[in-house]
């Protein structure tokens, strides 16, 4: 029998490889490289020094670091007990607790800040009936460093939780059982074995919380700007919003300063991740949960108490505010009204436009990025290509660095007309799309790469043996097999993009506003009722999408969805 002739001699794999490298170079390397260049060689060595000489810069930098550090401490204080309880104990109702606990990460900061402002304000629909609300005329107690740190801590606690939880679940069961057999009880095990062995993931999670905190815009914008408390992100926003592209060099230098602080945190995170001991050999069997016994009730009550405090109460007062007829009018069954919803849904043109724009941007990113991630993940996970792995790491930067940094970098690259085409993307929706693609690529890539690691390479090799070329293998074998993870990646991108604020607020132009911007502007402009109504709608959509993605979960590798651990 003669071998089957193979059709066509051309192997498309190298071409796809080069195309992907080009995409990453354009999306990640070019803008960030351009920004770095601005710092060392651009028209203003003198400008750089003038920015660095300004007192304002250092005050903002100090505020940034202080609030971020305090926030990180709080994140650790919340995240560590949560991870230990949920990963190691036999607490009941874990799935619901994890879901509730992840909400502050997935609901955007501007909405969380809005909710907390309502919760603690003089008009607080929940505190006022109890007589606990501050008097009218007194500034909201959350304004300033304390409130910012508090909310940063709550918003980023899930990052600490996720990192530690993953570390705890990767612990080989025998190592803990050997300690139990040695006579160590729960606390002893925790102190001597479990926590020392998960120190690295904990440090990594805390660094991530810190980096996210310094890049956060929505929280310090809503809680800091009213009291004149500036951090670097809000300083950049105020300069750019006030003076436009004329101050581009100046804000570029500020964002470089922000990037450097972030890089220190990221460096620490990378160091911690590398310190993880790889000599551990696990049997892969799930850990036997430590029984809480008679402590079950009080601990469960404490967990639910925390969830009520950091999730239910603020969201509840957001909902209550959205139903008020006028700001400050006490809410009752008789006074509750849907007018605010009617207004944002039908009357306010900006809100309608914003919904469409956000859907377009998030939808396009959710469609394009998984398609890029499919071949990218293949090169990274299966081919073990060094270059592609490096490219994959570079693609992490636009997500890991503060959004403000990426936004400024995109402006620097795209403000001038594109070569050949002769038109500029600045002040159009397309600059926002480019920035979204750059920022969220890594979300899709991580999910898909995890999928490749779980798939047997023989799947592709058999198709190769059958004579299928590279693109055909991707299309007919790998894409269907990885469809569930790619979908999970798409949903993750969509969720995150739908709620985006930091990039958008620096890149938008009239007509191109997004949901994040409208909620932010309404709240900042004092229209708390409409802001609350729109925020409630966005939260509802977010929760709905999370639940929808959860239905996919049985077909996903573990950990593909952050809120199902």
């Amino acid at each position: 029998m003669s071998p089957l002739p193979r059709r066509g001699g051309w192997d498309s794999e190298p071409a796809v490889f080069l195309a992907l490298l080009l995409v990453i170079a354009l999306l990640a390397v070019l803008p960030l490289g351009r920004l770095a260049l601005e710092g060392v060689a651009a028209p203003g060595r003198s400008l750089l020094t003038s920015v660095l000489a300004a007192r304002q810069t250092w005050v903002a930098a100090e505020h940034t670091v202080v609030t971020a550090l305090l926030g990180t401490l709080l994140s650790v204080a919340i995240g560590v007990p949560a991870a230990v309880l949920l990963a190691l104990s036999d607490l009941r109702g874990k799935a619901v607790l994890v879901f509730a606990f992840m909400l502050p990460l997935l609901i955007p900061p501007q909405i969380i800040a809005t909710a907390w402002i309502e919760l603690c304000g003089p008009a607080s629909p929940l505190l006022r009936p109890l007589g606990l609300a501050p008097r009218a005329g007194v500034p909201n107690p959350l304004y300033g460093a304390g409130g910012i740190s508090l909310l940063l801590g709550i918003e980023h606690a899930p990052l600490v939780f996720l990192a530690l939880n993953a570390g705890l679940r990767a612990l080989p069961r025998e190592l803990i059982e050997a300690a139990q057999a040695s006579g160590a009880g729960f606390w002893r095990c925790l102190r001597d074995i479990i926590l020392p062995m998960t120190g690295a993931p904990l440090a990594a999670g805390a660094s991530l919380a810190f980096v996210s905190a310094i890049g956060n815009f929505g929280t310090p914008a809503l809680l800091g700007i009213p009291g004149g408390y500036n951090v670097l992100t809000t300083l950049i926003y105020r300069k750019l919003a006030g003076f436009g592209p004329t101050v581009l060099s100046e804000v570029a230098d500020l964002s470089l300063l922000l990037a450097i602080i972030a890089l220190i945190g990221l460096f620490f995170q990378g160091w911690a991740m590398r310190r993880r001991d790889t000599s551990m050999t696990g049997a892969g069997a799930p850990l036997r949960a430590f029984p809480l016994g008679r402590w079950h009730r009080p601990i469960a009550a404490a967990c639910w108490g925390v969830v009520v405090l950091i999730v239910a109460l603020p969201l509840g007062s957001l909902l209550a505010t959205s139903l008020e007829p006028a700001y400050g009018v006490p809410l009752s069954l008789a006074t509750a009204t849907l007018d605010n919803y009617r207004y944002v849904l039908f009357a306010d043109a900006a809100a309608g436009r914003a919904a469409l724009n956000s859907l377009f941007l998030a939808g396009a990113a959710a469609l394009v990025l998984p398609l890029l991630a499919l071949p990218l993940g293949l090169f990274i996970a299966w081919r073990g290509s060094r270059i592609m792995r490096l490219a994959g790491q570079l693609a992490e930067l636009p997500y890991a660095l503060p959004g403000v940094v990426l936004a400024i970098a995109c402006i620097l690259v795209l403000i001038r007309p594109l070569p050949l085409l002769g038109l500029s993307l600045y002040n159009t929706i397309w600059i926002m799309l480019v920035a979204y693609l750059a920022r969220f690529l890594t979300l899709a890539l991580r999910t898909v790469t995890a999928g490749y690691h779980q798939l047997d390479r023989a799947m592709e090799e058999a198709a190769q043996m059958a004579g299928a070329g590279f693109v055909r293998r991707l299309r007919s074998i790998l894409a269907p097999l990885l469809a569930p993870v790619a979908t999970a990646g798409a949903i993750l991108v969509f969720l995150t993009a739908l709620n985006e604020l930091t990039l958008s607020i620096l890149l938008w132009s009239t007509g191109n506003e997004t949901l994040g911007i409208v909620v932010f502007s309404l709240e900042q402009g004092g229209d708390n009722l409409s802001a609350a109504a729109l925020a409630v709608l966005v939260v509802a959509a977010t929760v709905l999408l999370m639940l929808l993605a959860g239905r996919l979960a049985r077909r996903l590798p573990r950990g593909a969805l952050p809120w199902q651990v």
């Binding site: 190592l175 059982e177 002893r188």
Partner: protein, 355 residues
């Protein structure tokens, strides 16, 4: 009475019984090896005794103390049972010395006394100079020695080992077997040793337990397991040899009974209460020989021969029973070819008890 005692111990996963009605006693200082096919419940049995799993039924006593019953469960950390895991389970963030000394540390023993005992334990497993190393800086065999030292230092009455040598190569196994025999001798503890390696079990253990689908099929000294298997499964699982149908011509008397093996009369060993009738005969390789001319014999066909250097292992199919298989060992110079017909006679055999 001291030692370990299980009565009617059972554990189910869903509807599937992983361990059923395990009942046996392990005397102080005894070495029991547990054999059985993969998935028959060996690890589950060990984890029940260790206290990592809760039994659904039955009881576990150690040294007269109740460790486990359906209503009562002493957690693993309060049982004081030493355990050696297949993948060592050394804590990577602790030095070798701290790994070994941890059980003492937990018990609140003072520094100097602890150091002394750790040094002695490391010495006795041949790792005297390794105290300050990290587990990652040791070879597989050395890691398992550290794990042994960790058990030794606890001074427990019972040590459980779940295939402790399975991830080591053949060469290392022999030296670790010595180390385990050493641990057994020095500690005076009872050992419950799970293994896949029959030769290892036979060589090390005082008694062997064979498990079959969650139940303990037989528990007896190695020679008894080999010579007098209690069930057909044990007969097939342990050692080489064949199981063939025979006709018992007269009920057993003083442990012997006359049988008719494919028309060839013979007298074999049996239980005292063996009735006459159809039965299964376990014939080990050393029980078979080529028949001399004129001797009562039955015919078989050579199926395969393996030259083993010094001897030849031969597989044969009785002509009267083409489905059955017999095995025998012949001197290395004998020339038998596949397909050849030979006359066989048996010198010994064991009637496998029915039911």
């Amino acid at each position: 009475m001291a030692g370990l005692s299980l009565a009617g111990l059972g554990k189910r996963y869903g509807a599937h019984p992983a361990v059923e009605n395990a009942t046996f006693e392990l005397a102080t200082g005894e070495f029991l090896a547990v054999l059985g096919a993969s998935g028959c419940g060996k690890t589950t049995l060990l984890r029940l005794i260790a206290g990592f799993e809760r039994a659904d039924s039955g009881t576990i006593h150690l040294g007269g103390t109740l460790l486990s019953s359906p209503a009562h469960h002493i957690p693993a950390e309060r049982r004081g049972i030493g355990i050696v895991f297949q993948n060592y389970a050394l804590w990577p963030h602790m030095s070798v010395a701290r790994n070994v000394g941890y059980p003492l540390e937990v018990r609140g023993m003072g520094r100097s006394e602890r150091d002394r005992r750790v040094a002695a334990a490391l010495e006795s497993v041949g790792l005297a100079g390794f105290a300050e190393r990290r587990p990652a800086e040791l070879s597989g065999g050395q890691r398992q020695r550290v794990a042994l030292a960790r058990c030794l230092v606890m001074g427990t009455k019972l040590v459980l080992l779940d295939e402790p040598l399975a991830s080591l190569d053949l060469h290392l196994r022999a030296s670790l077997q010595d180390a385990i025999a050493d641990l057994h001798r020095k500690s005076g503890a009872a050992l419950l040793y799970i293994t896949h390696d029959q030769a290892e079990a036979m060589a090390l253990a005082d008694r062997v337990a064979v498990m079959d689908a969650g139940r303990i099929a037989q528990i007896a000294p190695p020679a008894v397991i080999y010579r007098e298997p209690a069930t057909e499964m044990v007969a097939r699982f342990v050692g080489r040899g064949g199981i063939v149908p025979v006709q018992v011509t007269r009920a057993g008397e003083k442990g012997r009974a006359p049988v008719d093996l494919f028309g060839c009369p013979a007298v074999v060993r049996c239980r005292a209460d063996q009735p006459a009738g159809a039965a299964l005969l376990c014939v080990r390789p050393e029980d078979l020989r080529l028949a001399a001319r004129g001797e009562p014999s039955f015919e078989a066909v050579v199926k395969r021969t393996h030259y083993q250097g010094g001897s030849v292992a031969v597989e044969l199919v009785p002509t009267a029973r083409p489905g059955a298989l017999l095995a025998m060992t012949l001197p290395g110079h004998s020339v038998l070819a596949a397909g050849q017909r030979v006359a066989l006679s048996i010198t010994d055999g064991w009637i496998v008890p029915a039911g």
